[in-house]
């Protein structure tokens, strides 16, 4: 015999967030008239300790068996209140949250009467739903100690080392032939002016040496199935055609290779051979043969590298490898691509030779770069006397990306300072909208660049760049907004401070893992304030620039946070999953087989003409239940009776 529901309803003011729009007194008076309501209260902050206490007390005093809290979105505090019920001996699935903030008070701020009506309807629907709620047992899944980290840049590396040191097994998958990512391409890092490679490469070596880290380079994740504690990952590793264990990086092969292609590592400012090592400190330390550009993997086509290789490390019979991994958690750290300014007509990048990107400048500044540390104009390979920086290229712009890329102010100041260090008499001018020097030591760094190094700053957006075809000098047109007048400036070299964009591969990962991305393509965190490294998919975390533009300290911090998050999930050994699976009533099922076909997880099978759902595989989408023409399937917590009770109460008569 189902027990009579005794509902406690709690109206949260949320400070003035809700109470500032909705008349809580009137709402309370209304709620008290609803059927099954044993007690109704209001309070300033229901999620606070005293707020929670109200519920605890009432559960015992009024013998409540259902609780409704009208407050923020269930996405935020449903777990908080469910815990209270559980601790007070009531099934947590007898809790219902009425969203009267995100979906009411915050969106109808000028409409208090309407907002009140909506709140009444929403609470009425929730109270009606509680009468149909059922006791459910949460599922416990076993979680082991294996993590997959996608992306071997500084974020992936930092997370890998923390997890490996904590005793967890790490599978680190990196699409390039080496780990290191974008940080390996940088010369110096702000504000300490550390040599980027010098602080990065020891970590790369630690990764390669760590017994708990299994490294897969030149590899990409192609498919992920399953759930936390039970992810089945398919990785496709491209053939390097070089045996990593035998290669001694002697570079004899490079001497004889006849193919030259632009060197991506050096921002296409120089050439590399088809057989190459991305940079000398690559990990794993091995050359790789770029199959696409190689003349052919047989002696008939070329074969010179094989001939020249003394350790006999060349293996033309290498083939793509499909690797299957079983892991418990996943950290996505796929990094960023610099914004490509080719389609920004005002800058003529790609048309005017002396308009370069900041990454190209970074490679030139680097002593092991394409120009051995000399800054040269591409048109005549002479050193420029005057350099102009254009900020916010591909950022803070309706036509490109609305967001701020966070690092460009600081890296422009850094590069400007480096230029002035090498050439004190060079005129270096940065055209900016704002200078965002927000981090530790940043403001001081900026002031020093201006005060001591003589970097010039003009506040104004560059509207157009023109070229003098005779000498390939550039004319920059901008407005000096502090003076309030337009200006035209001739210069030798223009550097576009390009912003940060998500990688193309990130979209693939988004499709494979089903983690949402924001409007800009960066991965979305589960909650922007309180859960910055979790995603809505249990067991999948994000870190680094894949989650949004940030500098190295922030990327490392986030990576370490993600590693810590992964440890929290894996260390207990079990994880509680919502029991939102579906059940077949086999007194009604007639074996038509419709559901079996529809389940995206193949969780349903037919046994003796009756459908049977595998609870471990079922994710609770409810597609089978709505499709079942007999009405024989019930999805837990979203049953027909529950939804219908809400439909019936939704429209005020």
């Amino acid at each position: 015999m189902p027990e009579q529901p005794k509902v406690g309803v709690y109206l949260c003011h949320c400070g003035t967030n809700i109470a500032g729009v909705i008349d809580i007194k009137k709402l309370l008076a209304y709620v008290e008239t609803l059927p099954n309501v044993a007690v109704a209260r209001d309070y300033t902050y229901m999620c606070s300790d005293p707020g929670q206490q109200l519920i605890r007390k009432d559960i015992h005093e009024y013998k409540l068996n259902r609780v409704v809290v009208a407050a923020c979105s269930p996405a935020l505090h449903e777990p908080t209140f469910r815990k209270i019920l559980q601790e007070e001996g009531v099934s947590p699935y007898f809790f219902e949250m009425a969203n009267v903030r995100e979906q009411d008070s915050w969106v109808h701020m000028k409409n208090p009467e309407e907002a009140l009506e909506i709140a009444k309807d929403t609470v009425r629907m929730s109270v009606a739903r509680t009468a149909k709620l059922e006791q459910l047992e949460p599922k416990q899944v076993k979680v082991g100690k294996r993590a997959l980290i996608i992306g071997g840049g500084i974020s992936g590396i930092s997370a890998s080392l923390d997890l490996a040191n904590a005793g967890f097994t790490v599978h680190l998958v990196e699409k390039s032939p080496t780990i290191g990512g974008r940080m390996a391409q940088l010369d110096k890092t702000f504000p300490t002016m550390d040599c980027s490679s010098c602080i990065l490469t020891p970590k790369m070596v630690s990764v390669s040496r760590h017994p708990n880290i299994k490294l897969y380079t030149y590899a990409e994740v192609k498919d992920v199935q399953g759930f936390i504690g039970n992810f089945k990952v398919k990785v496709l590793q491209k053939p390097k055609y070089v045996d990593e264990k035998k290669c001694t990086v002697c570079a004899e092969c490079v001497k004889v290779c006849p193919v030259e292609v632009p060197d991506e590592f050096n921002a296409n400012l120089s050439w590399r051979k088809a057989i190459y090592i991305p940079f000398p400190q690559a990990v794993p330390p091995s050359y790789v043969l770029d199959e696409e550009n190689c003349l052919g993997l047989t002696p008939l086509a070329c074969g010179k590298c094989k001939e020249a290789c003394e350790p006999d490390a060349m293996n033309y019979d290498d083939a793509p490898k499909e690797i299957e991994l079983d892991v418990d958690t996943i950290i996505v750290a796929t990094g960023y691509d610099p914004y490509d300014p080719s389609s920004d007509q005002e800058y003529n990048y790609g048309f005017f030779q002396n308009v370069v990107t900041s990454l190209e400048m970074e490679r030139m500044l680097n002593a092991s770069g394409p120009t051995s540390g000399k800054v040269l104009r591409p048109s005549d390979l002479k050193e420029p006397q005057r350099v102009v920086y254009v900020q916010c290229v591909g950022s803070r712009n309706e036509r490109t990306n609305l967001y701020c890329s966070r690092v460009c102010c600081m890296y422009a100041v850094k590069q400007a300072r480096q230029l002035k260090e090498k050439h004190p008499e060079m005129e270096v001018r940065i055209f900016y909208i704002d200078i965002r020097a927000f981090g530790k030591g940043f403001e001081e760094f900026y002031e020093k660049a201006a005060r001591d190094y003589g970097v010039l700053f003009t506040r104004g957006r560059v509207a157009e760049i023109l070229e003098d075809p005779k000498n390939r000098n550039l004319v920059v047109r901008a407005e000096d907004t502090l003076l309030g007048s337009p200006l035209e400036l001739e210069t030798d070299l223009v550097v576009l401070s390009v912003g940060i964009t998500p990688t193309v591969e990130a979209d693939e990962i988004h499709k494979i893992l089903k983690i949402p991305t924001g409007p800009d393509g960066f991965f979305s965190e589960a909650h922007p304030k309180l859960r910055p490294v979790d995603t809505v998919i249990d067991g999948v975390l994000i870190a680094g620039t894949a989650a949004g533009p940030k500098d190295i300290p922030d990327a490392v911090a986030q990576a370490k946070a993600a590693a810590s998050g992964a440890v929290s999930l894996m260390a207990p050994g079990v994880y509680t999953v919502e029991p939102y699976y579906a059940l077949v009533d086999d007194t009604i099922c007639g074996g038509c087989g419709t559901c079996v076909l529809l389940c995206p997880y193949q969780a349903i099978s037919m046994e003796n003409k009756r459908a049977k759902i595998n609870e471990a595989l079922c994710k609770g989408c409810g597609v089978c239940a709505s499709a079942c023409p007999a009405g024989a399937i019930k999805p837990n917590h979203f049953t027909d009776e529950q939804v219908i009770s809400q439909i019936e109460q939704a429209i005020a008569k």
């Binding site: 995100e102 009506e117 629907m125 499709k511 924001g518 995206p600 709505s626 939804v643 439909i647």
Partner: protein, 142 residues
């Protein structure tokens, strides 16, 4: 003022999927994007959970319009393909509504992702005005 009071205020019932459109509606909230106060929301885990029976019940219970919102096809659905089922059922349901003499514009299927708070608000506003022009649910009279 009397004219305002006499104006028909559509009552729309929305079935929002937990992962995309419900989160998108929450985002409209956190961004304080204001929209017409004419929608009541029922959360389901997936747009594929929406049984056409629910839509008919909503209409019978007086909803002037019904919104079904899910993740963008073909590959954003948290449960892989639930939205694709919702889409096929929706188009078949529209044919039924034609035969039942109910304007098919009263039932609307939209794809709203978790980051499309603005879109959610825009859809609610547009849908409200569309239903306002259509008039109240003809079943309400009987």
């Amino acid at each position: 003022m009397t004219e305002m009071a006499d104006r028909f205020e559509p009552q729309i019932l929305g079935f929002l999927c937990n992962w995309c459109s419900y989160a998108g509606a929450d985002l409209a909230g956190t961004s304080r994007t204001q929209y017409s106060p004419n929608i009541r929301i029922i959360r389901v885990m997936c747009s594929g959970r929406v049984d056409p029976t629910f839509v008919l019940l909503a209409l019978k219970n007086g909803a002037d319009g019904v919104l079904i919102a899910g993740c963008h096809p073909p590959s954003d659905c948290h449960y892989l393909t639930g939205n694709l089922k919702a889409r096929r059922r929706y188009h078949l349901l529209l044919k039924l509504l034609d035969q039942l003499g109910i304007e098919r514009q009263r039932v609307r299927l939209e794809w709203i992702s978790a980051s499309e708070g603005e879109k959610f608000a825009r859809v609610v506003n547009e849908f409200t005005e569309q239903i306002r022009a259509l008039g109240p649910n003809p079943l309400k009279a009987s």
